[in-house]
Assembly symmetry: C2
């Protein structure tokens, strides 16, 4: 299989090979292979989010396997569902790839998507494969949600809490750029481990605002501060990480930690700051910036 | 605005400018701007489908405006929902594009997506914008459905019926390749007009199998024949089109006509063949092939 390309098996062969690797769950009323999938939404509503990963921008094939990219693409979307307080049920995946893409890479991608889905009990229910110059993996996640938590409800007096790693993915990328290819931080870059279960738990515990850290802590808390009309003051001491420098902790994205504002501490989360009157994000009271933006 | 690029306004500026153009509907419980959208699914289930359009493969910027690409990308997905017998409610859109993309192109894309959504009453509820070498537009459509129709229920004795145009988009592409730039067929290539309302109508009338024609009539009926374990025999006379040659009628995709099998004729559809015992697709009893496959 190592030398077989997408061109050799064709679109329908590729779809069949990918689909055969993807188990379904009981919320999947109709799985892949038709014009559309049908997924149960017993709450009468569905949470939906899309993220796109591009070769050379979000991943490099020499640094990440197809399997790693699959796990990372799924994680980015599953974390968004968790950040609403939801539980993901289904993924749809668009794969744009050059005709010389090894079929094995696409199968590894499917395995990675599947295994990350298994963590939350979701299933890949549909997709599309098309020709492109560069690999583009676009994933849409659907989920169920009881009480959803937006970015706009943070109130002065709330604590800022985080579950999951901050800056480990960015620190791993820095090591890869330096030629290092193995280690815990590099694993963190290849495969984020979002604390999915904390999303619904924080929602149930009364989180007033929540998001996942995909663009960097300061950037993402900036979204909450702006949407809520408040200032968020981070505590430098609480953010200290023996393994990762402060710039990565504050600006590194892609770990998909969950950050929330809430009246009282919650088990499984660290308190890293407070919501106060004002605007923007500060660190021990001083203005701070950092993070990732596309096209810049 | 004509000279402003995605690089000039940045990711968040681009998202804000796009989002401002997109009206919502009352099924949208939470629209763009958070980690995920929340959409009502009053039937307790959701139909979901993804299609990816790539610059240079599915469209060329010199032949199609951003507005046309938006309408076409939406139509491809909305037609898939209709082909299940469903009514689309929401779109999520991933846009991968080079930093020098004119912002106006992205705004035109958003307008096209919006206007095609208006035809069926759907709304754009979320998305993602990222950097890439080539424009890739990935769209996911969500919808509601009462009785859904798969590809696997065609039975010998059923009629084959079609609603919408066949081969007009392919004929238009042929003219564009010859240097012609205006006319009804070229409009058909730039903006398909799927007969969305016929999807739920055919489902309610008892369609046994249905799909949209995206890869070409013979290819797509081949999917139904294979999934249903039947042969589909097309009637050459019924397929005649004064404006379009037979090769385009049989092999041209992207018009997103709806083709179904059903026991009796339905108003608004033409009868173009019959379901019989056997396998594959035939034309007046003779084997026939044709259509589009990626990576080949």
């Amino acid at each position: 299989m190592g030398d077989v390309t997408a061109r050799d098996v064709g679109e329908f062969g590729l779809i069949a090979a990918i689909t055969a690797r993807l188990p379904l769950t009981d919320v999947v009323l109709l799985g892949p292979g038709d014009d559309a999938a049908v997924v149960a939404a017993p709450d009468g509503r569905v949470v939906a989010t899309t993220d796109v990963l591009v070769e050379g921008v979000h991943f490099r094939r020499d640094w990440s396997s197809g399997y790693d990219v699959g796990r990372k693409a799924a994680a980015a979307n599953l974390a968004d569902v968790a950040a609403m307080g939801g539980v993901a049920t289904a993924l749809l995946v668009g794969l744009a790839a050059p005709p010389d893409l090894p079929v094995q890479w696409a199968l590894d991608l499917a395995d990675g998507l599947r295994d990350e889905c298994v963590v939350v009990g979701a299933a890949v229910v549909g997709g599309d494969t098309v020709t492109a110059d560069q690999i583009v993996v676009s994933v849409t996640a659907l989920g169920r949600v009881d009480r959803w938590v937006t970015r706009s409800g943070a109130r002065p007096g709330d604590l800022v809490v985080v579950a999951g790693r901050l800056g480990h993915s960015a620190a791993g990328l820095r090591l890869l750029l330096q030629g290092v290819t193995e280690g815990a931080l590099i694993d963190a870059h290849r495969r984020p481990e979002p604390p999915y279960a904390m999303g619904p738990q924080l929602a149930a515990a009364g989180a007033t605002a929540m998001c996942d850290v995909s663009d960097g802590l300061v950037n993402d808390l900036g979204h909450i501060a702006r949407a809520s009309g408040v200032r968020i003051d981070l505590d430098r001491g609480a953010l200290h990480d023996d393994e990762v420098g402060e710039a990565d902790v504050l600006g590194g994205g892609e770990d998909h930690a969950l950050v929330a504002t809430i009246a009282r501490p919650v088990a499984g989360c660290r308190v890293i700051g407070r919501v106060v009157e004002g605007e923007g994000v500060t660190l021990d009271g001083e203005p701070v910036t950092g993070g990732w933006e596309h096209f810049s």
